[in-house]
Amino acid sequence: MSDPERSSAPEQPAEPGTLAARWNVKQRAGGIAVPIATVLLAFFMGGVVVAATQHSVHKALLAYRDIFNGAGLNWIFHPTTNLLDISAYNLSQTLLQTSTLILTGLAVAFAFRCGMFNIGGQGQYFMGIIVANWIGVSLVGMSSLPHILLALALGTVAGAVWAGIAGVLKATVGAHEVISTIMLNWIAYWFGSWLFGDGGPLQNSTQPTIPISDQVSPGARLPDFWGAQGFQGVHVGVFIALAALVVFWALVNRTTLGYEVRAVGFNPDAAAYGGINVKKNLIRAMAISGAFAGLAGAIDMLGGTTNYQFGQLDIPVSQVGFIGIAVALLGRNTALGTLLGALLFGGLLFGTTHGLNSGAVIQPELAGNLTYIIEGLVILFVGADVLVLWVWNTPRRLFRKRAKPATSTAELPA
């Protein structure tokens, strides 16, 4: 029944073991061609939107140049450590965004490695923020280092517990983690709105009319290592995020835990047959995944990225948990890929909003929404690597004879 048109397309899953299949797997799993093509395609289509609405291709190119500068990437043309320099400042803010996105990206990536889709990074991030704020505000008498460590640790635990709920539900009653993490996102959202809202338990004690938390006490703040007086400096959270990348890599590739998690991710039945406790690993993977997101929230709170406060008004604005999905997908759920993906989106996020100078070709309000469009396109294309591969291979296919017809047409594993 197979029609000749489709059988030649590379999206047909070939029989396992054949050269074509191995090539296919390599392209899908490890290939960097797809992510690069995806990003280029997404930026191109974003550019088309700008060019069409501004009636000028030139303007679209200028807009991308502005975003490039807004992310502080023009810093490399004249490096300076002076944060009062605009490009250095922009770059420092991009680094801060990147470190948050590394962690929320790792959260999504780790769950993916176990075959689960943690769409609840946003909720876990909120829980990390909430608990870090609570600890940072309350235990004022503590000395600085233990206070910071305690707030970071408990924020991480809060994220782990929040994701762990979804893991437990998945392992015990088979509730789909996508549904439960979406629900947990919104529960965290309204829980936070209640805590920081008017009359809420964690609302600002001196300004009862503003729905915002108290500021984290100075002792609990992460120290800056690159900063200027009066500006948001680059705090040590960047190193924590980089360390988390190493931890992620080691955990996944060099430990029994990582081996078991990956085994469950590849094939739960085979893993169970091999003596691996699947349920335990589902819960474990989800909790570790949430820990990364919770840590992201704690770092943002203690590092002052949220002005050491968080409020009802800030809650809907933040999207870092969701952007983590794009980061992880683009990074192919690897540590290095996540770093690169986080850099891209960190730059994009800051470069299109606060970093964009007011005289830019397209106004920041417009550019900020362009970020969402590009993110959406990246996620869309990354999910459909079949399409990207097909476009990528079109020239080769045109100049070559038909590839051997694929034999198996069994359903793809979900």
Partner: protein
């Protein structure tokens, strides 16, 4: 479980012992417990609500023990809620009570339910055909923006409704292409749709309206009054004057039920969602069915979105990311209702009521009102946890199908 007609043949005593009857009675009593404390009865003592509520909870436990867990827990929760609301109402002043519970609460509940109904029915069509639609939220947002734009430029709500629905359907078509033909992961695709919708609506909102509120005087969706009912004492304020889309939503529930469960097309749709291979074997075009259902889903949920901005509460203005989780509540209602039109409608009513009540509760305290907004999500989490009976998705839901 006996069928409805068989139950009718049983003697009355046997019917009363039937777990289903006790379950429904428990739910009714739970609602009654709260009702006792509010106007027009207003028993100004906490004894009555507590007593009636406890009876409802006992009936719930009885029902659970008889094996009808979902219904039993429903009665138990209704009893608990009834006691809580009854006590709350008793300890608040009569003035506040009259403000919080009156006929317009019914109207507001139905209003808040309307977008959820469209979203939930949209979800049912898509998922019954085997395509998970996490992108409901985004498609709803598209409807909200393009609905206002169409009504503004076309100078009539009809254009707004048509444009909103069309754009929602278009986005759904893109999603369907990725989910069905390219076999992309449907959760990933849906997430992408949500991002795209936020970006596209935000971008064009700034581009077309320069971030200012949409000009006043955008024609709104009209209300439909029922002649003779509008002046009736309670019913008039409650359902005498509802929005046209609210009425359409009720009709949609019935239509969805009839189409899905009483027509050959519905059988085909469901077979694609349960066992696409078998459907293909008997000559059903699985791809065509799935495409049609996903696009229909986008159109329906976008109509719900048009209601958000063009309905009585939206007042013809668009706000950035205005759907704010309503699409996900609709998804939750669909799951809570076990992928069935009637169940989803009931869940949508419950969630709509809790949202309407949350706004009213701000009379007592803003805190309680805010916390109340989380209720739909908590209930759904409890539902998927299987505490109140398992929710069962269509067997092939979310699995791409490869034609042979």
């Amino acid at each position: 479980m006996s069928t409805w007609t068989a139950r009718l043949d049983n003697p009355l005593s046997a019917r009363l012992r039937d777990a289903a009857i006790t379950g429904y009675l428990g739910i009714f009593l739970g609602a009654f417990a709260a009702f006792l404390a509010i106007p027009p009865i207003e028993a100004r003592t906490i004894t009555w609500p507590i007593l009636v509520g406890i009876v409802a909870m006992l009936l719930g436990v009885w029902t659970i023990a008889r094996g009808r867990r979902r219904l039993g827990w429903g009665a138990f929760a209704a009893g608990l809620l009834g006691i809580g609301l009854g006590v709350l109402a008793t300890y608040s002043s009569t003035d506040n009570l009259n403000q919080a519970f009156d006929a317009t609460l019914v109207a507001q509940t139905l209003g808040a339910t309307t977008p959820l109904i469209f979203g939930a029915m949209a979800g049912i069509f898509s998922e019954r055909s085997g395509v998970v639609n996490i992108g409901l939220e985004g498609m709803m947002l598209m409807g909200a923006f393009w609905g206002v734009y169409g009504a503004d430029k076309g100078n009539t709500w009809v254009v707004g409704l048509a444009l909103g629905a069309a754009v929602g359907g278009l986005l759904a078509l893109v999603y369907a292409f990725f989910a069905i033909h390219l076999r992309a992961d449907q959760i990933v695709g849906g997430t992408a749709v949500n991002f795209l919708a936020v970006g596209i609506t935000g971008y064009f909102f700034v581009q077309l309206y320069h971030n200012a509120p949409v000009p006043n005087g955008v024609p709104l969706l009209p209300n439909v009054s029922i002649p003779g009912l509008s002046n009736t004492h309670f019913l008039g304020a409650a359902i005498g004057d509802l929005n046209i889309l609210t009425w359409a939503g009720f009709a949609l529930v019935i239509l969805t039920y009839v189409v899905l469960f009483k027509t050959p097309i519905g059988l085909r749709i469901r077979s694609c969602g349960e066992h696409p291979r078998a459907a293909d074997t008997v000559g059903i075009n699985v791809y065509a069915i799935r495409y049609a259902c996903v696009v229909l889903s986008g159109i329906l949920v976008a109509i719900g979105g048009v209601y958000l901005s063009e309905g009585p509460t939206g007042n013809g203005t668009f706000i950035f990311n205005m759907s704010n989780g309503l699409g996900f509540i609709a998804l939750a209602a669909m799951i809570f209702g076990n992928w069935r039109p009637a169940g989803a409608f009931g869940a949508a009513l419950l969630f709509g009521f809790s949202n309407a009540l949350a706004l009213r509760l701000q009379i007592y305290s803003t805190q309680a009102g805010t916390l109340f907004r989380a209720l739909p999500y908590v209930l759904t989490l409890v539902a998927v946890a299987g505490v109140i009976g398992r929710t069962v998705a269509p067997a092939a839901d979310g699995k791409p199908y490869v034609r042979q």
